[in-house]
Amino acid sequence: MRSANRNQVKNAWLLLLGLVAVLAVAGCGSSDDSDSSSEEVTSIGQTESELNLVAWAGYVEDGSTDPAVDWVSDFEQQTGCQVNVKLGATSDEMVKLMRTGQYDGVSASGDATLRLIDGGDVVPVDMNILSNYKDIDANLKDLPHNTVDGKNYGMPHGFGANVLMYNKDEVKPAPTSWDVVFDPAKASQFKGKVTAYDGPIYIADAALYLKTHQPDLGIENPYELDEEQFNAVIDLLKEQRNAVGEYWSDAAKQISSFANGDSVVGTSWQYQVSALQSEGEPIDAVIPTEGSTGWSDTWMLSSEAKNPNCMLEWMDWIASPKVQAQVSEWFGEAPANLKACQLTENKAHCETFHAGDTEYYDQISFWTTPVTDCGDDRGDVCKDYNDWVQAWTEVKG
């Protein structure tokens, strides 16, 4: 009897063991294969009653963050589409969320778009059916990250640079180069208080630095790195690891780190700079002499959208001049629709963020997904995003 009991108990525990192990992976559903239709959408039909979005914080505001900041309520009234938003903290997370098939659309940055397009997660749209597309900054149209094989995959939202943010009381004199975070001699002054972006795409920031400071490597485009260039960049990042106190991927956490003195210098977005300055923190930011990486976002329609017409209406709505003025001022970025420039509260907004400024645009290396094709006569020898992910794991150690 006792041994039978023991066996039962043993079996029960073995089952429990299975349970514990499986819980760890319960969250990851199987990803669908990418054979869903990628036929171009050419018309808008009757709107549904709901819209589920994946977006960056600050892109879909309904007044709950700040009563004055609201461009969702009017949309809901006019279209009858009830908007639900799921915030994505990183591009990687957004890709994961979109692959669940539960969302109608996404505000995807350039390092996510090609992955979504290749994976069949989003569909092309005939942009002529959206009335505001004609007013979009020509610099943002038909780019490699939002257009594939001549087909447009969505509505440009706006762009911005990854700036060098610093605490004015701690970092003197004011930095003008990324060397404060990459040159070991300079970065060690702020050992443990340097911050860097937590994502494989940050490798491009180090590549951009070496483009200027180690010209013999011959880096042209920080997203097209061959073996030798890639290894040099990774070595630089491993060296930088010693000075980094915290890698950030969540804007709100970075704000608290700078406010509490845990971080004093590192890459950031204008959004965090404005937030900290409005709280009276001694914070400033600069685009260093080497130039900067940056993002350019696009609203894309999911291939599995349950509310495609609401999403198409949203893409047109978010690109309208008034909404563009609101969202670009709130987030701190250049609007995609240049008609917004007359409607911003701060009349200098478009100038500050260089909206429509082609020369400035060319200085920014916009996030894009690295692929094996180097895009030049080197051929298919470049490191792809998967290599970047692996290397990033190694950098963090």
Partner: protein
Amino acid sequence: MGRRLADFFQGRPRLTVTALLAAPLGWLVIGYLGSLAVMLVASFWHLGELSGEVQQGFSLENYQTLVEEPVYRTIAGRTILVAALVTLTDAVLAFPIAFYMAKVAKPRLRSLLVVAVLLPLWSSYLVKVGAWRLMLSENGAINWALEPFGLSGPGYGTTAVWLVMSYMWLPYMIIPIYAGLERIPDSILTASEDLGARPFRTFRRVVLPLALPAVIAGSIFTFSLTMGDYITPANVSSTQFIGNVVYANFGDNLPLAAAFTTVPIVVMVVYLLVARRFGAFEHV
């Protein structure tokens, strides 16, 4: 209808049991064990050379990566080490508390203490991590309290992860030990004393052996919870643990994530087998 069903099952005990257990067992086998099997299968898939898409076919590529790249060994080692440290810390902290609750406190105080131990479990995990994040920050409560002594807190890092995890999982250690100690009759302790054993000897020779299965039962919780967590490390450090690597990979390289997940599974199986030898499951 109900009557006919009752008639049908009348005198067929095996069938009755099968019908009753079908749903929960089906859920367990398909839902839990099934997904575990899918994960193990997925760990042998790999990414296509050019497309970066998952190729379904047998390959040891992921396991090769995990063995050959030193960084994964470092991360696995670090995770196991911190899990062991957290378990040890919790055992040392939990034992006196549980002993007081089970053997010393009056019933009224005892129920109060049980509530106090369980209370943190009622609040959100994220809120607690967030609170620790603030306490550990440069201008946080810990540095403020230590400053008069010329000391400073650990800041964000592996030490912080150890501290926060030890806090998080402490109730999971206290409750099993409390239950185990409560089952030891007071008369045995008195007998030990009557036979001339001093308190420490009684503890070492009588209480500890009897309570050991309970401690090990608690340690299974603290150990496995630490092995799998990625939220605490992501919030109070930039250090990577197994969970963080799994999370970072499961969008683009699910097979590698699946392969790395076998590490905690193997560690837990070994741990449970050892625990069984110590009799952790004798009185469950």
